[in-house]
């Protein structure tokens, strides 16, 4: 088994995919850093100050004005209400929700990339990990060895899990390293609030806890990793089922993008919450953003994802051990 994993790791490293992924992440992070920097500068110019309290106060006023406008939908109004209450809570407790610094940037980057960007990067590796053996013809060599088929697949799966862990780590390290050049490297100990819960009546602040940013980040990383593993497993399954890498990627891509679109418009279609792709934004539960469909909780989303993960894994192994290779 060890040898098998070593063999797969060698293939992974030889393909240099991880380096490509690192370059993509690096370029994007640099772009986002610049955009963020510009945004901060613009705000400072507009308000004539860089005092975060003033900025939040202005945001609150803007939100209040949008809520009082009659032309917005009830749902949107409720979301605004929740965001507003959260801002007010931060302000009342004198805590800056976005303490300037690389760790904060990293947090925002993770929260925004959990749904689409990180899964896409994972797909780059996962979607051809089995099907490429078909297209290159090397599958026969692999399977003629005196090793059970499930062991071969398991070694591939474990390698995938390692690769995903590395991708998440690369995303973290690069976003910290690059954004720190502009925003500074401090801010690990900055206070962050978590434990907001969204109820019918609005935002419930009874369970709010104060934690350090590094703790929050570690949790975020854990959630991102979990999502990446689930998405990776599903791509892995497609890679077993569909010989063409491009087709497998296409299917997965469609699913992911539909998830991003659906989360913005499914609140009335309740059973959509059983799709894995609307459950990807796990970090929302940590920072108190309202879920796309009412009644979704962290455990619900994780359970849904786990079920999809188990099915994906089961199907992969079943098909791979049974199917004829020619």
């Amino acid at each position: 088994m060890n040898k098998l994993i070593q063999n797969e790791m060698m293939k992974l490293i030889a393909k240099k995919r991880l380096i490509v992924i690192a370059i993509i992440i690096g370029i994007l992070v640099a772009m986002f850093t610049y955009a963020q920097f510009k945004e901060v500068e613009r705000q400072r110019e507009k308000l004539g100050t860089d005092d975060w309290r003033t900025m939040i106060q202005q945001t609150i006023i803007d939100q209040q004005n949008r809520i009082s406008s009659a032309r917005i939908s009830d749902e949107w109004k409720q979301q605004l209400q929740i965001a507003l209450q959260q801002n007010q809570y931060y302000l009342d407790h004198d805590i800056n929700p976005s303490e300037p610094g690389a760790p904060t940037f990293m947090r925002i980057f993770l929260e925004n990339s959990i749904e689409l960007f990180i899964p896409l990067m994972v797909m780059v590796i996962a979607s051809d990990i089995v099907s490429s053996e078909h297209s290159q013809g090397s599958i026969k060599l692999l399977l003629t060895r005196p090793v059970k088929r499930w062991k071969v697949l398991l070694s591939k799966y474990i390698t995938l899990a390692f690769a995903i862990s590395l991708i998440v780590a690369i995303a973290g390290i690069l976003s910290y390293g690059i954004s720190g050049l502009v925003f500074g490297y401090k801010g690990w100990g900055a206070p962050v609030l978590t434990g907001f819960s969204v109820t019918d009546a609005g935002l419930d602040t009874a369970g709010v806890k104060l934690i350090n940013q590094w703790q929050f980040l570690l949790m975020d990383f854990g959630l991102v990793w979990f999502v990446a593993i689930v998405v990776g497993t599903l791509s892995f399954m497609l890679s077993v089922l569909i010989r063409s890498t491009a087709a497998g990627m296409g299917v997965m891509l469609a699913a992911l993008i539909s998830g991003a679109i659906l989360s913005n418009m499914v609140s009335s279609w309740e059973s959509a919450k059983y799709f894995f792709m609307v459950n990807l934004k796990l970090t929302n539960y940590m920072n108190g953003n309202p879920p796309p469909i009412e009644g979704m909780t962290l455990s619900f989303s994780m359970l849904v994802l786990l079920v999809w993960w188990a099915i994906g894994l089961f199907v992969s192994f079943l098909v791979f051990t049974k199917k004829d290779v020619y």
């Binding site: 939040i56 004198d94 570690l218 949790m219």
Partner: protein, 258 residues
Amino acid sequence: MNKNVIRSVTMVSVFFCLLWLVGLGWAVAEYYGGKPEKIPEKTKIEKKAEKKDGLHIVAIGDSLTRGTGDETGKGYVGVLMDEIKEKTKQDVQLTNLGISGQRSDQLKEQIQQTEVKRQIQTADMILVTMGGNDLFRGGQGLLEFKEEDIAEIEKKFLDNMNFIFQQIRTSNPKANVFFIGLYNPFSDLEEGKEMSKVVRHWNYQSAELSAAFPKIVFVPTFDLFELKVNDYLYTDKFHPNKKGYRLIAERVASLLTW
């Protein structure tokens, strides 16, 4: 390929894999377990917010402060800011805290918020528009026009404003406060004459109230809109348009002292 490279990459992967697992477990534990400790609310402003160079202007009030009806989005505050920026070399910082549809009882709540207090504390100049929503209630006041009702509304309004001005003066005894009076947007309508009378009385009382406080200046706008009111109103026939806001801004600008 070098075996060591493979081995070390694998080791690093395993490390991160475990680390992220710990994070995941922690996230779940933190989400469901872990008692929240009480987080102290900051109600006092400990350090007096540092006074920076430049001019800090705070605008509070309703849709007039927001600039509703001005297609350029500036409102009288924006126009006034432009004029001030032309006249002074200092940095000018504007904090616009106006909320559309705000009534005096809501402003009374708003002004007691810690951050709003802090803003007012550092202000060099405070602009207030208030009363339109108390009196007109979005045009509804015109239909159910009863004198006793209005007297009551006016009394409540003056009480609220009294409280608001007291608050402002306690947090900031130095800044000039400009309290913008009401105009009558309905003066062209049938009941316009009666409404004008009400507004005049309202303004008179507001001016009296302002005079009771040091450095609070009542700025009349009634006369500006008296003739040709429709030229200065937005299509909703309630808020001023660009020209209307310019009139108000110019009037305030003429009162500024340096």
